[in-house]
Point group: C2
Chain length 354, copies 2
Amino acid sequence: MTTINWGILGAGNISGQFAHDLVLNNSEKKEIVHIIASIGCSSTTKGESFIKDNMISKENNGGIAAVVQNYDDFYKNKDIDVVYIGTPHIFHKEQVLKCLENGLHVLCEKPMNINAKESRELQEAAKKNNLFLMEAVWTRFLPIVNDIRHKVFDQILIGDVYRLMVDFSYDAKLETCPPGSRIRDKNLGAGALLDIGIYCITYARLFLDQKLGKEHTPFDLKSMVTVDPKDEVDYNTSILMKYSTGKQAILTCTNYIDTPMPFARLEGTKGYIELFAENPARLRSYKVHLKAGESYEVKDDSEYLGFIYEADAVAKDIKAGKTENAVMPFDETLLVMDTMDQVRSDNGFSYPMD
Amino acid sequence: MTTINWGILGAGNISGQFAHDLVLNNSEKKEIVHIIASIGCSSTTKGESFIKDNMISKENNGGIAAVVQNYDDFYKNKDIDVVYIGTPHIFHKEQVLKCLENGLHVLCEKPMNINAKESRELQEAAKKNNLFLMEAVWTRFLPIVNDIRHKVFDQILIGDVYRLMVDFSYDAKLETCPPGSRIRDKNLGAGALLDIGIYCITYARLFLDQKLGKEHTPFDLKSMVTVDPKDEVDYNTSILMKYSTGKQAILTCTNYIDTPMPFARLEGTKGYIELFAENPARLRSYKVHLKAGESYEVKDDSEYLGFIYEADAVAKDIKAGKTENAVMPFDETLLVMDTMDQVRSDNGFSYPMD
């Protein structure tokens, strides 16, 4: 049995989903016990509500009572092995650096931060401190995603893949969203690309290329960004990628609508695969349609929200003394951040932090 | 009652569909009688089969027996008012010029020809001869298409439109298609863009802009073309268009697959519209989904294959002495041809005729 001690930074929605999976895991007595040692939070009340709402108890937390700490105390907590950062991306850079400076390994929600320049600074800091750092691109660790990759790349189930279409959108209800919210405020890194477009790119990376990071298959990139005249951020961005192999990705994202299903289609010469999910980041089922006639559906009915798989991967890496993960190495983070930088730069859209 | 005399050049599949609609129209004693005066064809046998297969008889042809003529005799036939050219696009330029030189008005299947340079030559010839010339973009004349345009532009049914996605694809069964066929032979103008991508662009023109031709709302264009290494033509092309209003079109076409439905989605701030069709050029139904809750479907169950509407428009124009159509003026043909030229040029894909 392996035990790993997590600090959770930020007591918002995504941290709650992450905690849900750890709690469920521990309730089932799995090989790895994910202890939530501390919740780092600006408000004690909010942190205590987080523990209560997510039903974190000694019984499902390896006999440990999770504590709530302010940020300063959190960073100095010696009971924490690794920090999960679940705050909005604008805060990531400073928080990752603080964790690393204090000897804490880090799993940081996507996007790692606002641009590749900052990402490189974070990589340098992790290397200097010989600590683990990974962007929490949980989609890459879902068994159902890897099941598809196995069928596409190893079994050549749908023949030669030539096209992937992905539409990851959601109705952010902008009209009722306050201007200072992370969804609308440019100073908080608002916009569709960094928030959801990153998943479109992730699916293109997952399904059109077997290689990662610096080893990736070369691709060309073209994009269109529509910047809202009032909020000055992108609520609609579309991207074309074409790999040197000829494979095309047609990617689009918007904050104006909940994506109708299927949200994606991967096509090959022998058939195609449609992807379905309530939240496209968390693929829930896929349908295979083969030209030869066969059609079938594969569903993931797990009660996990999908975060446990990356959490397990991180725990194993840290216990093995690794500072990078093989599925989501830092070079892959840099590749995706560079790609998003190029999309923004090609369309004259920048953030104050650029 | 108006009577117009058609010559049909080329006895292939699309000419048959065009003839079907004329025959059905005349069987119903409509305001306009579309007489098929002659079938221009390289083989008498093929022309006679065409008349038989499409059940063209004196009874449904204004009392006239359609004749079969070789090309030379066809061009000199004084009984023809207007020629419908239904041959592959590689032959259009020469045939349009021959018609115009012989005093015949022309409705020419899309694309008008291979590139905008040739289109401009044809426009000059039509102007010089003071004859009617129109590209047969029949989709623009479908009542169901104009019903959507009315709802979108006049009734603002789905609010501010921001995104259109169109996938027009079909499985050309390339593996069983002979290399010399119009689907595979570069010398015959093969490839997805000119054959089906033109409809994607047409839908973007129809649903994202109310203006036509030289008056069109400006747009930026980015694209990816994958050229097959063996046949050296594009079997997969994707295009992004962004209008100065910020509206985006995400367009893609391929010869590898029959498009799953819906083939298109038009989105606005108040809801979206999904488009369905067996052949996306011939929109057959659409579903409106409003955020306020309402959803409904509109179907076109007409027995017409969809060609009668453009045929009627052409008949009215010619009877009124016009040389251009207001729905599909020649400048709009040039705009779309220029757009396709740019897509090819941006991706280094050219035809021998360029």
